[in-house]
């Protein structure tokens, strides 16, 4: 059985799980409603107290939507952050915190870091099996966007062919990220540093001209401005990475004239080669790591938090389900007179039971469906907010986990709705009739 389950495609497993979760509710519905036709009466009861019923549906929808939205958002954030890191095969930097280097180089969160020297870079670039060794030099900014020094090959590696214009060909040219606040043809002087601490005139006299724009990558690099690393060294008054008199940009760099770089993106000619390179560059004077692995470790760390959150979300759903139960029992009192009439004119108890259960089911299903929609909208809204704040493209949509949550919630609450239905047929007929 376990082998059969494991042999199923993931989608089939998810679909089967969703079906298993919703099945108790569906089967219960079929059992309660068998041979009966309570829906016209249920419709009348729903319309009779439409405001109260609507409010109740909204309450269910908000609680379901909250759970759905948070689940979808958490997954979207995880996928978005992983997607942003997927182009960064291997990062080599001076020894220190892998997380700090990853945040700085992948997510462009500025940080003071020791540098990889020219000699170290030369060694990395010359190592057999290295297809790309791109320096990543950050520290400057313009109009809130990071200005990052690198190579034209890195631009291509990161975003593929440019969406507009051409790549930089001199140390004074720049390529804008897809959403960077500059246009092709603009010239700007970079500020030293980032944010409120940026020194706007520190690099006065130096300017870059934007010659192209990258395609969107869904990463913080979309807001960055990429310049030749020689340009970064130049505006800081350092050597250009090439022997004096050399009039070109890009690798190979002359180790003697290379000032150093905070990080180097390394890509091996073969995928497996990255592992060998990581081992080779992990030593006392430098460190190498896979950002994807560090991210997975972070996600792993967060998994415990996520588990705790899931437990809390589960408890919350239980509380919501109990609230729904109490709410339904109160709502059933509203329709007690109609139910008493049905019993008085000869409706079987099973029919009255089915009416109450269907009434509750209609509220629960409407609330759950609306909750799914609300959750979707909330996840989209939160995604837009997170994307705007972090520049990591987060696209949270509804997935199987959300459907599982809602299917489970629906089944549990439909089962719980048996209680108000059971209580309703045990209410005193005459006193309800006289109400």
């Amino acid at each position: 059985m376990r082998d059969l389950w494991m042999s199923l495609p993931a989608t089939a497993q998810d679909a089967a799980l969703a079906l298993a979760l919703v099945a108790p509710g569906l089967l219960l519905g079929l059992w309660v409603m068998r041979g009966l036709r309570p829906l016209p009466l249920v419709g009348a009861m729903l319309r009779r107290f439409s405001w109260v019923n609507g409010l109740f549906v909204l309450l269910i929808a908000v609680s379901v939507g909250l759970g759905v939205g948070l689940l979808a958002q958490e997954r979207g954030l995880r996928q978005g952050s992983a997607r942003a890191a997927e182009k960064f095969d291997l990062i080599v930097a001076a020894p220190g915190s892998e997380v700090t280097v990853m945040l700085a180089s992948v997510y462009l969160q500025p940080s003071d870091m020791a540098l990889i020297t020219g000699a170290q870079y030369a060694e990395i670039a010359a190592t057999e099996g290295v297809a790309l060794a791109a320096p990543i030099a950050f520290g400057d900014s313009h109009a809130g966007a990071p200005v990052v020094g690198t190579t034209a090959d890195f631009v291509t590696h990161l975003a593929g062919p440019l969406a507009a214009g051409r790549s930089f060909a001199t140390a004074q040219e720049a390529v804008a990220g897809a959403f960077a606040p500059v246009d092709v043809g603009d010239s700007f002087t970079p500020a030293h540093g980032h944010g409120a601490m940026a020194e706007g005139d520190a690099h006065a006299g130096h300017a870059y001209t934007v010659t192209g724009r990258m395609a969107a990558t869904g990463s913080p690099w979309d807001r960055a401005i990429l310049v030749p690393v020689e340009g970064v060294w130049e505006v800081h008054g350092l050597a250009s990475g090439h022997a004096p008199g050399t009039d070109r940009i890009g690798p190979p760099f002359d180790a003697e004239y290379m000032p150093g770089t905070p990080a180097v993106l390394v890509r091996a000619t073969e995928l497996w080669g990255n592992y060998a390179l990581r081992s080779r560059f992990t030593r006392s004077d430098m460190m190498a790591f896979f950002p994807g692995t560090v991210l997975a470790q972070l996600h792993g760390l967060m998994r415990d938090i996520r588990s705790a959150m899931s437990l809390m979300a589960g408890l919350t759903q239980v509380l919501v389900a109990l609230s729904v139960l109490i709410g339904l029992m109160i709502l059933v009192r509203l329709i007690a007179r109609s139910l008493a009439l049905l019993r008085a004119i000869g409706a079987p108890l099973r029919f009255v039971f089915a009416v109450v259960w269907s009434y509750c089911a209609a509220l629960i299903l409407s609330g759950a469906a609306l909750g799914l929609a609300l959750g979707f909208v909330a996840a989209r809204g939160l995604s837009a907010l997170v994307t705007a704040r972090t520049d990591v493209l987060v696209t949270a949509g509804l997935g199987w986990p959300e459907l599982h949550l809602v299917a489970g919630f629906v089944s549990v609450t439909l089962l719980m709705a048996l209680l108000p239905a059971w209580l309703a047929v045990r209410r005193p007929l005459l006193s309800d009739l006289r109400t």
């Binding site: 009466l41 000869g346 029919f351």
Partner: protein, 227 residues
């Protein structure tokens, strides 16, 4: 369908505190007759009607419709008896406000066996027409006057073609003209098909339309008169 005879024997109904609400030693009503239950408020008229319809189970005694002692039946069996044999009309109509006149008159079709649903709807439409509401079947009931609403309730009671109609103060909420018209309709509809009709009423005008009047006092028969 022949209306069943009614026989009541040794009937006792008490309140929770033990006060006697109803004590009727013997009553016989031949099938197809009409009976008015009169008396002061609290005399036990409605309680008697509820016992006759199986809505209240007596503490002692038998209530025999034809061959069936309704007092001895289970709750579901009493409901089935009401569904098949009794048509109930209440003082304040008890209509589903969001349903049409026809939807209310044919309410029993919602829980009737599949084969009986269409006949009930057809009968409901026929009774609405017979009560002067034939053109208004599709209208929601909240657009009807009090008299019209009570006619819809009468059509609902008749839709299942019951041999007996039990009505609890059917004209109490109506003005004189409407009360008279409804009373006349009830008697006419009962008589034309040989149905039994038992009406609880304070309305002397309605009571005199019945072939027999039973005045209750303190839960006992104080006066039994025939027209």
């Amino acid at each position: 369908m022949r209306a069943p005879d009614l026989r009541v024997e040794g009937l006792r109904v008490q309140s929770r505190e033990g006060r006697v609400l109803l004590a009727i030693d013997h009553l016989a009503l031949p099938g197809g007759q009409s009976l008015a239950l009169t008396g002061a408020s609290g005399a036990g008229k409605s309680t008697f009607l509820h016992v006759l319809s199986g809505l209240v189970r007596p503490h002692a005694g038998r209530v025999i419709w034809g061959e069936t002692d309704i007092a001895a039946l289970s709750e579901d069996a009493r409901a089935a008896f009401r569904r098949d044999r009794l048509g109930l009309v209440f003082q304040d109509c008890h209509l589903f406000e969001e349903l049409s006149a026809l939807g209310n008159a044919a309410l029993a079709s919602a829980f009737a066996p599949r084969a009986a649903r269409a006949p009930i709807r057809a009968a409901a439409a026929r009774w609405l027409a017979g009560l002067g509401l034939g053109q208004a079947g599709a209208r929601p009931v909240d657009s009807f006057s009090g008299g019209e609403r009570q006619r819809i309730a009468v059509a609902r009671a008749l839709a299942g073609d019951p041999p007996v109609i039990l009505a609890d103060e059917p004209t109490a909420a109506l003005d004189r003209a409407n009360a008279d018209a409804l009373g006349a309709d009830l008697v006419r509809l009962a008589q034309q098909d040989g149905r039994g009709l038992i009406v609880v009423t304070h309305d002397a005008g309605l009571a005199v339309r019945m072939t027999r009047q039973l005045r209750l006092a303190d839960g006992r028969i104080a006066e039994d008169s025939h027209a």
